[in-house]
């Protein structure tokens, strides 16, 4: 068994060659690898035997007789189609299809993301998101030395909190009592959800 060598920067051993044999048979590997595999096969009986066996399988499959259906299969299918009720037909207008298929998938995805971001920013700037969370939190709430007026995006891992000192970012730690990072701060709140936040002021 040939152990290993390098040709054209491609290192070949029996294990690698064995995995490449099908692709080699189908000419679906780069030229450098093709040459390296060919060289290996000329020197390794075991790998060459496997190559011959796989090639024989491929050729046998290619020689299988074409199976033919009943004479009336095509007509039967066409009759079935003719009997399909109109509701099952789902056409796509050509103009829409042309428009949709014109743009590559990546551009479509980017467009959808940007639209979603723009929509959220619009909501935010209009105060809709703030208003929503304002209604869900009793404000102001005294937590330590801070008065909390509003929690924006409480379910986010990094929500914003409006205090008398302005907005600060909060780090959520679910189910665990948090503590203030500010010197001298203590945590005291009857609101369990807020008690789980720890604040790092900015």
């Amino acid at each position: 068994m040939v152990s290993k060598y390098t040709m054209g920067g491609v290192t070949m051993n029996c294990h690698k060659v064995q995995n490449l044999l099908s692709a080699y048979i189908d000419s679906e590997i780069p030229g450098v690898e093709m040459l390296a595999v060919r060289r290996h096969l000329s020197e390794c009986e075991e790998c060459n035997a496997t190559f011959e066996a796989l090639l024989h399988v491929k050729r046998s499959l290619g020689r299988l007789a074409q199976k033919c259906p009943s004479e009336w299969l095509a007509d039967r299918i066409c009759q079935q189609i003719n009997h399909l009720p109109p509701a099952t037909r789902e056409p796509v207008r050509a103009s829409v299809r042309r428009h949709v298929t014109f743009f590559p998938t990546r551009l479509k995805f980017a467009g959808v993301c940007m639209s979603a971001i723009a929509f959220l920013l619009m909501l935010r700037s209009g105060g809709m998101i703030t208003d929503y969370y304002m209604d869900s939190v009793h404000s102001p709430i005294q937590v330590g030395s801070l008065q909390l007026h509003n929690v924006i995006h409480p379910f986010s891992a990094a929500p914003l909190v409006e205090t008398e000192h302005g907005r600060i970012s909060a780090q959520a730690s679910w189910g665990l009592p948090g503590k203030f990072d500010r010197p001298g701060s203590t945590l005291a709140s009857s609101n369990m959800s807020l008690a789980s936040y720890s604040f790092s002021g900015r």
């Binding site: 046998s60 299988l64 199976k67 095509a74 299918i77 109109p86 207008r93």
Partner: protein, 190 residues
Amino acid sequence: MVELSDTATVAYRNEDKKVFDELVHRYHKQAYNVAYRMTGNNADAEDLTQDTFLKAYRFFGNYKRDMPFDNWLYRIMSNLFVDWLRRRPKAHIRSIDEPIRQEEGETTLDLPDTADGPEALALSSELDAEMQIALGTIPKDFRLTVILSDIEGLSYEEISEVMGCSIGTVRSRLHRGRKLLRERIKPYLE
């Protein structure tokens, strides 16, 4: 690739039906051949072929002309075949004496004379039947990959489009499928 005029692709029902009828007559034998190799018998192959074309007609408006029609058909057939497998009984143990359903009726597997050389066996109907049995024993993803590559002659890239996987996955499935087939039919080649 199917050449369809711009008019034919517009969703006018009568025009669509005419075009589709033509496609059915043009591709039904090819589709049936793949269906037969996947299912292993005539009745299931015809049902699968019919279901494939019906579904293709239903979504004909979504067919993109940049993909060959037969490849698009294979993709539909592949998905329907998964459903077909789920509906059939799990265990399918085939006895060596079990009649094999073929178009010309039933026949039993007549094991080839191993004294014959490999060349003669490769052309015999017995090996055809044995290869079909072997195809039925390998995983469906390997089976379809082998059928599309070695029977239908699709490239790795085309197969990856049909099956919705990477070219590396196609390569792996094809290699493993051929190795399994080699083990299954090895006694008849030695």
